[in-house]
């Protein structure tokens, strides 16, 4: 289905410009995208340099392509926390100081290859390229993340500072509910420092009225691996020294459950609690939400917490000491109503709020 993906990555690897080979490029990382028949993700990519790629992935100061890499899990796998992501990549036109706003699901901009808002295609010749920017158009429903890089700083191209940035907008066009975030950027492909602070204090609204979920995307020293992403991270509530959280009356209540995520997934807050705990937390409360990478133990019989190796940051290794565990995932909290109320009072429609927990 995605021969182009495999071909492009294979060619890039064969000629030595695979993801590892271009590790010093500037990049921007959109940690979450959702696509379905009623939800789409609109991303804006801002590029401030002419240090880009040609179609073969060769760095040049006169080239005009950005490298888009969409990591996704689709169909039934979209709801499987532990399914790995496939990679789909494209080199797509850009130009210095260009902004490209793209509907990854291709719902909007159906006649313009997913490119939105009357983009004139003069310097950035996206029309002439004949390429489709709606990278997830044919894999609905899907969850994923987007990684985009240019060649700024890739030898022989000089480094002109941070040259890529972005924003994302997740839009349920049936109800009009929307939320967004600022994408992370970097002058390489290492996003370990962009993990959300662990722990982060998180407020939980009443479970019976408001649905709370976490979008979790593990980070790594190599955020754009070739072909597939199977990075695994864990999120859990540990608020004192136990698996616990506070209710709205300062009572500690134990019985929380860790949840593991591979590549990217949505975790319901209710699924992070035992049923006895959930029943006693009808009004919600607050917790410290932890995130960290996990790796197989020595016998490969279990997944255990990890730290990133100081000498080779792309490789996490097991650690038994909680205080050593490195922050390991970008965590976004989403909360929305299932009815037309908040605090039991009518609100006349849908609300949909998201918070991306900042890095430490």
């Amino acid at each position: 289905m995605f021969a182009k993906n495999t071909l492009a990555s294979a060619v890039a690897a064969a000629i030595g410009v695979s993801a590892v080979g271009i590790a010093q490029a500037d990049s921007v990382f959109f940690p979450y995208a959702a696509l379905s028949t009623t939800v789409t993700t609109i991303v804006s990519v801002i590029n401030t340099t002419s240090n880009n790629y040609d179609q073969s992935g060769i760095a040049s100061t006169t080239a005009n392509l950005l490298h888009y890499r969409f990591y996704y899990k689709s169909g039934a796998a979209a709801d499987d926390l532990l399914a790995p992501c496939e990679e789909y990549d494209e080199y797509l036109p850009t130009s210095k100081n260009d902004i490209q706003t793209i509907d990854l699901g291709g719902v909007f901009g159906a006649e313009t290859a997913g490119v939105l808002f009357n983009d004139p295609s003069i310097n950035n010749k996206w029309v002439a390229s004949g390429r489709d920017y709606a990278l997830g158009r044919s894999v609905l429903p899907a969850r994923g993340y987007l990684f985009v890089d240019n060649s700024d700083g890739v030898a022989p191209v000089a480094d002109s500072g941070q040259t890529l940035a972005g924003e994302a907008f997740i839009f349920e066009f049936g109800s009009g509910a929307a939320w967004g975030y600022q994408a992370h950027d970097s002058n390489d492909q290492n996003y370990i420092t962009k993990a959300s602070e662990s722990p982060s204090n998180v407020a939980i609204m009443p479970f019976t009225e408001v649905t709370t979920a976490f979008f979790v995307t593990p980070v790594d020293g190599e955020q754009a691996p070739d072909f597939q992403n199977n990075y695994r991270a864990r999120v859990e509530f540990v608020t004192s020294s136990r698996g616990d959280m506070f209710d709205r009356d300062e009572n500690l209540i134990s019985g929380t459950l860790p949840q593991d995520v591979v590549c990217v997934a949505r975790v319901n807050a209710a699924d992070m609690l035992s049923d006895g705990t959930l029943a006693r937390l009808g009004d919600g409360g607050w917790a410290k939400v932890h995130n960290y990478r996990v790796v197989p133990n020595a016998t490969a019989t279990a997944w255990v917490p990890a730290v990133f190796d100081a000498t080779n940051s792309a490789v996490p290794s097991a650690s038994a000491i909680r205080s050593d565990w490195d922050d390991g995932a970008v965590v976004i909290k989403l909360e929305y109503n299932a009815g037309a109320t908040i605090n039991g009072e009518a609100v006349g429609g849908t609300y949909n709020n998201a918070i991306m927990f900042a890095p430490e």
């Binding site: 379905s36 109800s175 009356d249 500690l252 459950l257 029943a279």
Partner: protein, 616 residues
């Protein structure tokens, strides 16, 4: 008006009037077999706490929080009083009741007039809330809203709570504290620091012996621990009145499922432990002691290993019969399974235990087909011994009829076999009845069992009132017969009715009569999404034709596939100016229909968020 009198068993109060005026409450067999009585006068939050105790004369003292978080107490005569002044700021929380021959003691945490743990003895209950003077018993322990109260035969009330006072010798912030009240002299014993922990767990016997348990977390060491307090111990000395702490078991994590009890002179504690890195190795386990907690024998219910237990209620007598009713689901591999209800029993004071037996009757078990009941939650079972030796009633909340109702099983041999099994208790049409995870909602007086159930005030399931259902063995047999007849009658006509309903629904959609279509949607959705908001979201898709292709019915759930022709007329996206349209095309649409209140309704799904408003 601060003082309100309510005779809760009289049909004159608000709920009584509601029920009496509702013809659905007086239909056929249901009226003959069992009776509903309103218990509470004020509406409660759906999650609102309540508690009750029987005094030595069998009178029921019941306290509850209303929707304004005001604490109310009902005496055995049905007189209801506010325990805190009406109109005050929200402050009381937590609730415990103890009862004896002299009435009841209510215990709550409050910030008015100062933060503390307040005790009210009904013997000293004033005529109105303005002059109610509860006793503050928490002192400087900074009590939190988790506490217990039990009265022994001597009239001494034992109080155990947890507080967050720092700088204690345990080195922990959260600790358990104890004191007792001599109701005859109104003398309070000194406050004692018992041990570290967040869950006060206690069992007392009639003589006044007690044993306190805690799950103690200190660094990497997490243990179940206990301390025994003899009834012979004098209070008031500077030394602790408790024996030394006994370390019982290393348990890395526990859920709030943690209880203590006794059968004769044998003491027990049971808890739900969490083991393994993913904490999904749930183990319902416990300990017993025959030497007042000096030594303990550990046991576990291995056939429930991996089951996340959401509620646990038990009945134990001094003859050694113990019944433990739980709801739970296997969460070892996923979070999707529905909860089910089980009973564990012992006839030899816990020397041995039965397997955890499912309380719901399984159809065609063992033939490889999916258990139809696995599609529906059942939870929060309560259990009680009856007036006759061996008689036991178990009642639970069950969603197999899409709405929540109560089901019951009756045994005459302590739960070994069932004389009546899996019987639906009467539920008026359109009403949802449930049980809370606590307290144990069933008790017996004479030959009658009483069930205190929660009745949701509407299909939003946001608020409730308490009702009482009285049932005897004969009534339950009548109910079983009536339910059987009703089910077989309904099965005969359902498919024809469904096809007609589905065609009517799609006819309304093709005519853009969304007001009419709304009436075919499930009532849980309609309760949360008013018609005007629904209408404001409709109309972007134009339906031109619809043909019901196939119907597949499984119990009260049906999958209906309809081929529709639809288009999206051109419209401009307000924020972007983008023109959006879709040409007409033919697509098959699968809808789930539910048999509810004697008719089929379409289950509303917000597909993008996988949200349904039903709760089964």
């Amino acid at each position: 008006m601060n003082l309100k009198r309510f005779k809760s068993l009289v049909w004159g109060c608000a709920l009584g009037a509601l029920l009496a005026s509702n013809p659905l409450y007086a239909v056929g067999q249901e009226e003959k077999s069992a009776s509903f009585k309103p218990v509470t006068s004020a509406v409660m939050e759906a999650t609102g706490a309540w508690e009750y105790r029987l005094d030595t004369a069998g009178g029921r003292w019941l306290a509850y929080y209303d929707k304004n978080r005001l604490l109310r107490l009902l005496d055995p005569e049905g007189l209801e009083r506010l325990l805190v002044p009406e109109g005050r700021a929200q402050a009381p929380s937590g609730l415990a009741i103890a009862a004896s021959s002299k009435g009841a003691i209510a215990l709550w945490r409050d910030k008015h007039p100062a933060k503390g743990l307040y005790l009210l003895d009904t013997e000293s209950l004033a005529a109105d809330t303005a002059t109610i003077k509860p006793l503050e018993i928490g002192g400087d322990t900074e009590p939190l809203a988790r506490f217990l109260a039990d009265t022994d035969d001597s009239g001494r009330t034992h109080l155990l709570w947890y507080g967050e006072k720092s700088g204690q010798p345990t080195g922990e912030v959260h600790n358990l504290y104890y004191r007792n009240l001599n109701r005859a002299t109104q003398e309070l014993s000194p406050t004692e620091l018992v041990m570290a922990g967040i869950y006060p767990v206690m069992a007392t016997d009639a003589k006044g012996n007690l044993i306190a348990f805690s799950w103690r977390s200190s660094g990497e060491t997490k243990q179940i621990v206990s301390r025994f307090r003899s009834a012979e111990t004098a209070s008031g000395s500077s030394a602790s009145s408790f024996n030394d702490l006994v370390e019982i078991a290393e348990v890395p994590e526990v859920t709030p499922i943690f209880q203590a009890f006794h059968s004769g002179s044998r003491w027990f504690a049971v808890w739900l432990g969490q083991y393994g890195a993913d904490r999904r190795d749930f183990r319902l386990e416990g300990v017993r002691s025959d030497d007042n907690g000096r030594t303990w024998t550990r046991f576990s219910f291995d056939d429930l290993r991996g089951f996340d237990i959401s509620s646990l209620q038990l009945a134990a007598n001094d003859e050694g019969h113990i019944l433990i009713a739980v709801s739970g689901r296997d969460r070892r591999t996923n979070d999707k399974a529905k909860q089910d209800v089980y009973l564990i029993r012992s006839a030899d004071r816990g020397d041995s235990w039965s397997k955890a037996a499912p309380l719901r009757a399984r159809a065609d078990a063992g033939d490889g087909r999916e258990d139809p009941l696995a599609l529906f939650h059942a939870r929060n079972p309560s259990v009680a011994f009856g007036g006759k030796p061996g008689q036991v009633l178990v009642v639970w909340e069950d969603w197999r009829e899409i709405r929540s109702g109560l089901f019951a099983s009756l045994s005459n041999d302590y739960g070994q076999t069932w004389a009546l099994s899996d019987v639906p208790l009467p539920r008026p049409r359109g009403i949802n009845l449930g049980l809370r995870y606590e307290p144990n909602a069933v008790y017996a007086s004479g030959d009658t069992f009483h069930v205190i159930a929660e009745q949701y005030t509407d299909d939003s399931l946001e608020s409730k009132q308490l009702i009482q259902l009285d049932i005897g063995g004969e009534a339950l047999a009548d109910l079983a017969d009536a339910a059987k007849a009703r089910r077989s009658q309904e099965m005969e006509t359902r498919e024809d009715v469904l096809r007609k309903r589905a065609e009517e629904y799609w006819s309304a959609m093709t005519q853009a009569d969304f007001t009419k279509a709304y009436a075919y949607l499930d009532p849980f959705f309609r309760a949360r999404m008013p018609l005007n908001i629904y209408l404001s979201n409709m109309g972007k898709i134009k339906y031109s034709e619809a043909k019901v292709d196939s119907i597949k019915i499984k119990g009260p759930i049906a999958e209906v596939i309809t081929t529709i022709r639809a288009s999206v007329p051109e419209f401009k996206v307000p924020t972007t100016g983008e023109i959006v349209s879709q040409p007409e095309r033919e697509v098959p649409v699968t809808n789930r229909w539910l048999w509810l209140d004697g008719e089929w309704v379409s289950e509303f799904v917000i597909e993008s968020q996988d949200i349904v408003f039903t709760r089964y």
